[in-house]
Every structure is written in structure tokens, then in C-alpha cells.
């Protein structure tokens, strides 16, 4: 059997908050989470606020390290490989694209930043790469000279997407990125993501609560509650027969929202 692209094995994360001088409390944000992710597949993570889904995203993106457990990419443990390679393979799209862009730098510079950081390329090659990536996400070459405030919200999201994709990552992590988008914009971006997934074979991990989008995009859904995975099944099964109590409540509420009051 082929090894999955990303394997997460029993990772857990514990926060230590000091309370006063001597006491401290420990909060287990994630308790022994494991899953596999194949190439060109999409995994959606849903759960209540405080269920540890954002912590999971940050651990995967390398923003912090898990208290225990392993993350394997191509069967290789990520804790052993150098940080630089890891930063190029798994990239996160922030929650609010407009807040994560520097208003005083041209868009082109910001998209290039990871490339400058992680790869040594000649300036002309870099420029080529920049334009190719911008075309892929549906931006024009002229946009490279713009400042973020001159772009619309969906274009800013495309900029952050281009910035993540310029180093050819294998996995993209979306931390509730698309939930604040308008419906037509979201539809455009869903199309864009589907297209990119088919052409580049990237895997996506989407964190959020936009159920109609998850239903359309995701192959598998992972439901988290209080740091534990309570359900992990294909999307259709989850939407047809939710097993756990929390998922049932969520799916019934969703069905009622889009189908009207049951009375």
C-alpha cells in the first residue's frame, strides 16, 4: 500500500497556564489525535469553539510543536527533518487575509517573501515563478506592483494563497479562511481550489464551520470535541447519518437552515 502523504500519529498538546505564584493549571487542548491524509484529498475539521481545531492547525503548520506524538510527511518524521523543508511543504492560509498582509509593501514582494527565505534562485527565475503563481490563482501580473489596500477582499485572499503556493507545498491548511467571504466570491475560490487540487495534487485541511462548503469540497470530515476526535468518516456518510450527539445536532441544524423550518 502506498504511504499516505501526511500521517498524524497520536499528537497531543498541553498548555500550562500559571495561576498565581505556585499553582498552575494544565489544559489538554488536543488529546491523542491521529489521521492520514492522501494526495489531492481534502479533510475538513469541524468542532465547537475550544475543541482544539485551531491548535491542531497551528501544530500542523509548525507554528508550535506538539507535546507528544509524531507528524509524518511521505513517511518521514517531521521533527527530524530540518525546519526549512517543513515550512515549504505545509503552509497555512491565515484566518483574515487582509490582516496578514503588510499594507506598506507591494503585493509582489510579499508573495516572494517565502521564496526569498527558503530558496536561492536568481532574480529572473524568481520573477518567472512569481508571475506563474499569480496567474495560477487568477491574479494579473500588474497586481504585483499594487499595495494590498488597492485590492478587493477576494483578491487579497488570492494573494495569501499565492504566497503560500509559491514554494510548491504539498499540504495547505485553511484556518477558517473562507468563512468570512461572500457567497459569489466563495464560489469562485472553491472553483479555484478544486482546479489547483486537480492540477497540482495538493492536499487541503480545512478548518471551519461552513457546512455547505465542506459538503462540496471535503472528502472526509473529522469532528472534534474537547480535544478528541469523536467522528472521522467520509463526508457523505457524516451528512447522511451523523453518529455522535454533537454532530447530529450540527447536521440537523444545518438541514433545517437550508431546508426551512420543519413545522
Amino acid at each position: 500500500m502506498q504511504t499516505p502523504l501526511l500521517q498524524v500519529k497520536h499528537i497531543s498538546k498541553t498548555y500550562h497556564n500559571s495561576k498565581g505564584w505556585f499553582r498552575h493549571e494544565t489544559v489538554e487542548a488536543i488529546k491523542s489525535v491521529s489521521f492520514d491524509l492522501k494526495r489531492a484529498h481534502t479533510l475538513a475539521v469541524i468542532g465547537e469553539a475550544g475543541s482544539g481545531k485551531s491548535t491542531l492547525a497551528r501544530i500542523l503548520a509548525g507554528e508550535m510543536s506538539p507535546s507528544s506524538g509524531d507528524i509524518l510527511l511521505h513517511g518521514q518524521n517531521l521533527n527530524d527533518t530540518n525546519q526549512r523543508q517543513r515550512c515549504m511543504d505545509i503552509r497555512m492560509i491565515p484566518q483574515r487575509p487582509s490582516l496578514s498582509l503588510n499594507p506598506r509593501l507591494r503585493v509582489g514582494m510579499q508573495i516572494l517573501a517565502p521564496l526569498v527565505q527558503h530558496r536561492s534562485l536568481t532574480p529572473s527565475l524568481r520573477q518567472q515563478k512569481l508571475y506563474a503563481t499569480m496567474r495560477d490563482v487568477g491574479l494579473l501580473e500588474e497586481h504585483a506592483d499594487y499595495y494590498p489596500n488597492m485590492l478587493s477582499a477576494s483578491q487579497r485572499l488570492r494573494v495569501t494563497l499565492a504566497r503560500a503556493m509559491i514554494v510548491d507545498p504539498e499540504v495547505l491548511v485553511f484556518d477558517q479562511t473562507l468563512s468570512a467571504m461572500d457567497i459569489t466570491m466563495r464560489a469562485q475560490l472553491i472553483n479555484l481550489l478544486t482546479m489547483l487540487q486537480q492540477s497540482r495534487g495538493m492536499a487541503y485541511i480545512m478548518i471551519g464551520h461552513q457546512l455547505s462548503m465542506i459538503r462540496h469540497l471535503a472528502d472526509d470530515v473529522m469532528v472534534m470535541q474537547q480535544g478528541e476526535v469523536i467522528e472521522f468518516r467520509p463526508t457523505d456518510e457524516i451528512f447522511e447519518s451523523p453518529a455522535s450527539e454533537y454532530t447530529q445536532r450540527l447536521i440537523y441544524a444545518y438541514n433545517e437552515l437550508v431546508q426551512g423550518p420543519s413545522s
Binding site: S179, D182, S212, H216, A253, L257, V258, G260, P261
Partner: protein, 338 residues
């Protein structure tokens, strides 16, 4: 009876670069006890309409209308303070991100007390008036579905979830027994289970107390099932209005058509049928029909701004509508136009 009657509302903003028209010739009629939806993308001017009705726009905005009546009173005859005081008595508004609209340093109970009508009940002895007001607060909380009113009243906004905060906002909104509730994207940041609670609450208020609701939201998907009539806005104009069921099932305007096809279910993971491009900014509007450059059905007539046409109880603003037979189109074109 028409509770709210707006005809050709225009909202303009004075900027150093000149006057920008944010909302142009917007008409809205809300009946008593109606659940009305206004759907549009961000920047389409839908929140401005809500704020203009409440009189909340600052004086750099210019609001004009051919008719601007609420419950038979002409709002344009009033000055700003009168307008606000009148609408404060008769209507209420709730916003998105409720926790940011609540005072972070006052307890919930105090804040709801503030929202209660100030007139004392004269038939009550003065030493009992205070406890009477507190009882009213807990009754309000019960009405919006909060059971442990004691804990909620003693807590601060940051200790509560967004869903609870929105319920508290609704409790404060209905404290004055308003006739109209304007809900400006009340559920946009919530998850499905909380969303449904807020929707059910609004629907309940609408049915039990004949409270009219103007629900401003950016998703047709949910508005489709919870509203009686809906107005679709694009770029500051109302592009289509009518009974929700008809608008969703047989959209006339190409923009509505695009929105309606997005919410149809297709289990296969395929490309969605979307409109290319983004909404133009208000400084750089295209000439003629504002959807023009993005519209799949654009033709040479579209360089002229289409007028609102009325067809039975619907209105639309398009030269080449969908789902309309030729004779109806001609009848509508020769009929009443504005």
C-alpha cells in the same frame, strides 16, 4: 398596512474626490408582520439601508428619497434627533458580532435595564419599582430562551458566547416592544447550531408578536427558507425583489440566477457555475447596467441603465431577464416603469 414605505432612496457620501452614490433608487415596502430579507454581497449597500432607516448615518452621508414613511409618519420631515428618537421608540436594530456592541465593562443585567423604557409605572409603589424592573429583565431573558437568567445578568459580555450575546441583543431590542426589528447580518460569524437558534427566535417573535423583521444577510441559502419576501441588492441597487419562493425558483435577474444556482444541491464535486470577476467599487462603476461586464446575457441594450420593471408582485432591473416568456417581457416593458 405598510409599516415601512420607501421609494427611490438614494444615499450619497461626500468625499474630497466628489460625491459617491452608495445606494441608488432603492425601494422597499414592508408590511406589518412581514419577515423581509435583503440579500447582497458586502459593499452592496444593504447595511446602509438599515442604518438610514434607523437614522444612524452620520452627517457626511446625504439621504434622499421620494417617499420615506414609517407607520404613516414621514421621516424626511423630521430632523436628525427627532428621527432617531422616533425610530428608537418604534424599531430596533441588531448587528453582527454582538459582543462588540455590548459594553465590556458593564454587567449584562445593567445593560438590559438601560434598554427598558424609562417611564416609571405610576400605579406601583416607589419601593417596588426597582424589583419590578429587574423582574422585567429576567422575563425578557426568558423570552429569548435564556433560562438561567441570574448567572447571565451577573456576567460580563466577554464571558458569554457570541450566540448568547446575540440573544441578549435581541432581548434588548424587544424590550421597548418595537414594531420593526432590523437584523444586520446577526448570524454571520456563528456555527450552524447557534445560527438556527437565532433564526428560530426571530421567526418566533415574528409570528407571536407580529414583529416585522428586516433581515439583512449575505447568503441566499438561509434567507431562502426563512423570509417571506426578499430583495436582492447589487452595487447599491435593488436588482430583484419578490416573494422568496418565486425569486429562488424562477429568478429573473442574471445575478439572482447565479446566486440561486449556487444553492441548488449537486452531490457531485464539480465546478460551480459562478459569475466571473468581482463587484466593482463605487468609484468605478460601469456605465449602464452595473452587472454589465460580468453578465452572461449582456447585449447592446445593456449600456443603458435598466429601469425597475414590475411584474405581478415582483420587480426586477434587467434588459434580458431569465425565465420570462416573450409576451410577459413585452407587457412588463410597456407597463409601469420607474
Amino acid at each position: 398596512m405598510n409599516l415601512l414605505d420607501i421609494r427611490n432612496l438614494t444615499i450619497e457620501l461626500e468625499t474630497p474626490q466628489g460625491i459617491i452614490t452608495a445606494v441608488e433608487r432603492f425601494s422597499l415596502v414592508v408590511q406589518d408582520g412581514e419577515f423581509r430579507g435583503i440579500v447582497g454581497e458586502s459593499g452592496s449597500g444593504k447595511s446602509l439601508v438599515g442604518r438610514a432607516i434607523m437614522g444612524l448615518l452620520s452627517n457626511k452621508w446625504r439621504v434622499r428619497a421620494d417617499r420615506f414613511f414609517f407607520a404613516g409618519e414621514d421621516l424626511q420631515q423630521m430632523d436628525v434627533d427627532e428621527h432617531r428618537r422616533f425610530m428608537g421608540r418604534e424599531a430596533a436594530m441588531i448587528f453582527q458580532q454582538p459582543s462588540s456592541y455590548l459594553d465590556p465593562i458593564a454587567k449584562i443585567g445593567e445593560q438590559i435595564l438601560e434598554a427598558l423604557p424609562q417611564t416609571p409605572r405610576l400605579n406601583l409603589a416607589f419601593w417596588r419599582r426597582n424589583s419590578d424592573r429587574l423582574e422585567k429583565v429576567s422575563a425578557l431573558l426568558h423570552k429569548v430562551g435564556i433560562r438561567d437568567h441570574k448567572r447571565i445578568m451577573a456576567s460580563y459580555p466577554h464571558e458569554l458566547s457570541e450566540g448568547l450575546c446575540q440573544k441578549i441583543m435581541i432581548a434588548m431590542a424587544i424590550a421597548n416592544e418595537p414594531r420593526l426589528l432590523i437584523a444586520d447580518e446577526p448570524t454571520s460569524t456563528m456555527e450552524a447550531t447557534t445560527k438556527i437558534q437565532i433564526y428560530k427566535l426571530m421567526a418566533k417573535m415574528n409570528q407571536l408578536r407580529k414583529l416585522s423583521v428586516v433581515h439583512i444577510c449575505n447568503e441566499l441559502e438561509t434567507a431562502a427558507n426563512w423570509t417571506d419576501r426578499v430583495t436582492i441588492m447589487y452595487c447599491g441597487q435593488s436588482v430583484e425583489a419578490g416573494p422568496t419562493q418565486q425569486v429562488v425558483e424562477q429568478p429573473l435577474h442574471p445575478y439572482t440566477h447565479a446566486l440561486a444556482t449556487l444553492i441548488k444541491r449537486d452531490p457531485q464535486r464539480q465546478m460551480l457555475n459562478v459569475m466571473p470577476g468581482t463587484m466593482p467599487t463605487l468609484q468605478h462603476l460601469p456605465t449602464g447596467c452595473r452587472l454589465g461586464p460580468r453578465c452572461p446575457r449582456a447585449h447592446k441594450d445593456c449600456i443603458e441603465m435598466p429601469r425597475s420593471r414590475y411584474l405581478r408582485n415582483r420587480s426586477y432591473r434587467c434588459h434580458a431577464p431569465f425565465n420570462l416568456e416573450e409576451k410577459h417581457a413585452n407587457a412588463a416593458a410597456s407597463g409601469q416603469t420607474h
